[in-house]
């Protein structure tokens, strides 16, 4: 399992469009990904509505946990996506 944390820099946070793109990206890999916002239970990162419902805003730190055959590649792609977009 791979894990990393990321602090959101984007002003609006994980809103609909990046959430959608993130889900799309994660679905491109076979690994299971959960995302956890401080103080809240982890959710499946491909559950778009839950992800949006987390209300991740600028300055929030989220923790990703990636597990599966392609976890290396998946984690790397997610991290790149987060840095580039959020």
């Amino acid at each position: 399992m791979k894990q990393f944390t990321y602090t959101i820099k984007d002003e609006v946070g994980i809103h609909a469009r990046p959430a959608g793109n993130l889900v799309k990206l994660i679905k491109g890999y076979s690994s299971t990904v959960t995302i956890e916002k401080e103080g809240k239970p982890a959710i499946n990162a491909t559950a778009l509505m839950k992800l949006m419902g987390l209300g991740v805003k600028c300055g929030d730190t989220v923790k990703f946990s990636i597990e599966g055959d392609d976890e290396e590649a998946s984690a790397k792609a997610i991290e790149e996506f987060m840095t580039a977009n959020l």
Binding site: A16, R17, L48, M49, M52
Partner: protein, 543 residues
């Protein structure tokens, strides 16, 4: 290939797919079901359909508004596929044994509420997306198809009949043409179609509706009133050529822009446009009309939940006058009746609304409504070249009362120090045989007449214009009508008034010469007819 025939009301051709206009039942009912598996299948089928629609919308948006704005539709598709959303629908169907529509509606409410309760304004707004996709899903479940508006592609809207308000609310950008099974070519719906420059066929018969489904390939020929269902290739080819010929003709007409409306022997006539809302001003200008000969003020009342205020009306009138930059704008005062119902007027249902409590009769009975409109009109008169026109006149005393009401309003404005144009022309519609017959008595009271040929025809020939069965009895070129118009023209001119025609007959090229010979000063027609009429006028020699 099957051919149906109705009455073409706007001469143009459309080739495209049918979408059947359904009046959506807004309320979702909870129904108990026996077979949850069947409901789940319905959800899946609706989802597939909804996704297909959204993909089309997405593609269209991609082309028209760019990638960033189009992405939301991709997100809608993903939302439809969301696990939690789908689990919720599934569990409601299975545990409560209810219909799919209800399960979606409840799920929609729950998720929408979750977003609405978030402390982030952006996320709160997402509840609208949930409702949007859910409504789409529910709409996709109705067995007999979706409302056409769910589809981003341009379609031919097919309906049993369209109420004027429904016609108006159609998004022009999504409608290639429309075809109704019932209705008469003189109905307000047909008139609106003409104004919207949309090919339309009215009264195609109920067999037509039975013969098509959503997505049926159609050719609509607004010239002949023919509709081809599932046309063969040769027919499509023939009609594509016709369509191109139409486009060339339109191009030619564009070349007439800026030219005078003058016959070969030098007789001039004004060609104005009829419109029913501020939104059509663009069409008036694009078609190079010399003015607005009939501005129907009803839209202000139809669009409103309550009586439009003086300020609302003033703003609209001022906008039209300013947009027309000094060209004549004739605004007709409120013309509603039992056939053009407005809830808050609380008009009684009438057996015979054409002969009922309508138009000026309402205004003279309920002076507060009349006064508000007249105040707005006179205030706007300071911003352009206004003419005020009263509908449904039958007597001298009615005209006198209208003028008295105008004088009253002018006096008020003067005492309040509000500007208005003292020279604002006052005119009346000649649309009852009574008005035409006593036009010698009416003409001295007013600045102009405008002949409303649609009503004049229905009253003179005793043929209800809404009654499709009477179509074959309505001879619009009936000598009685032409004589009434000629009489009115003679009496107008003898008393220093001018006369125009603002009914459908004004656009009839077969009568243009007749009208010119009568000395008609102005023809006011739907904007798309302005240039064809100019072409006609320029080809006539009265000598």
């Amino acid at each position: 290939m099957t051919v149906f025939k109705g009455k073409g009301v706007y001469g143009a051709i459309a080739i495209g797919k049918a979408s059947i206009f359904k009046r959506r039942d807004a309320a979702v009912r909870r129904e108990s079901i026996e077979d949850p598996a069947k409901e789940l299948e319905r959800v899946e089928a609706a989802k597939a359909k909804a996704v297909e629609q959204l993909e089309k919308i997405h593609d269209k948006a991609l082309k028209e508004v760019g990638e960033a704005n189009a992405e939301i539709f991709e997100i809608h598709i993903m939302m439809l596929d969301d696990e939690d959303y789908n689990d919720s629908i599934k569990s409601i169907i299975e545990t409560q044994k209810v219909n799919a529509e209800y399960a979606v509606a409840v799920t929609s409410d729950n998720f929408a509420e979750m977003f609405a309760s978030m402390d982030d304004a952006y996320m709160q707004a997402r509840s609208a997306d949930i409702k949007d996709i859910s409504n789409r899903l529910i709409a996709c479940m109705s067995d007999d198809g979706n409302t056409f508006e769910g589809d981003g592609a341009k379609t031919i809207v097919c309906a049993d009949d369209l109420a004027p308000s429904e016609t108006v609310s159609l998004d022009k950008d999504k409608v290639l043409a429309f075809v109704t099974a019932y209705g008469s070519s003189n109905s307000h719906t047909a008139i609106l179609a003409r104004n919207m420059n949309i090919p339309a066929v009215i009264g195609a018969g109920e067999e037509f509706l039975k013969g098509i489904t959503d997505g049926s390939m159609l050719i609509v020929d607004g010239h002949t009133g023919e509709i081809y269902v599932s046309p063969d290739e040769e027919t499509i080819k023939r009609y594509t050529e016709k369509q191109e010929a139409d486009a060339r003709k339109k191009q030619l007409l564009q070349e007439l822009k800026g030219k005078e409306n003058v016959t070969l022997d030098g007789t001039k006539i004004n060609i104005f446009a009829n419109i029913g809302g501020v939104g059509s001003i663009g069409a008036v200008l694009a078609n190079d009309a010399g003015g607005i000969g009939l501005f129907r003020s009803e839209f202000l009342y139809l669009e409103s939940e309550d009586y439009p205020t003086e300020e609302q009306q003033f703003t609209a009138y001022r906008k039209v006058l300013e947009s027309m930059a000094g060209k004549k704008v004739i605004i007709r005062t409120l013309d509603i009746g039992a056939d053009k119902q407005i809830d808050y007027f609380k008009l009684d249902k009438e057996d015979n609304p054409a002969l009922g409590f309508r138009a000026i009769r309402i205004c003279l009975t309920r002076p507060e409504i009349f006064r508000t409109q007249l105040r707005a009109l006179y205030r706007a008169s300071a911003f352009g070249n206004l003419g005020i026109m009263f509908p449904m006149i039958t007597s001298v005393s009615e005209v006198e009362k209208c003028i008295a009401a105008c004088d009253e309003v002018k006096k008020e404005l003067k005492s309040e120090g509000i500007k208005y144009n003292e020279d604002t022309e006052i005119g009346i519609m000649i649309e009852t045989p009574a008005a035409a017959v006593i036009s010698d008595r009416l003409a001295p009271l007013v600045d102009f007449f405008s002949v409303g040929t649609n009503d004049l025809t229905q009253y003179t020939l005793a043929c209800d214009r809404q009654n499709a069965k009477l179509e074959s009895f309505v001879d619009t070129h009936h000598e009685a009508i032409l004589r009434l118009i000629e009489l009115s023209a003679k009496n107008a001119h003898a008393n220093g008034a001018w006369i125009g025609i603002c009914g459908e007959l004004g656009a009839d090229p077969e009568l243009t010469e007749t009208f010119l010979r009568m000395g008609i000063d102005e023809l006011s027609v739907s904007p798309p007819y302005v240039l064809p009429l100019r072409e006609k006028v320029r080809s006539i020699n009265l000598k």
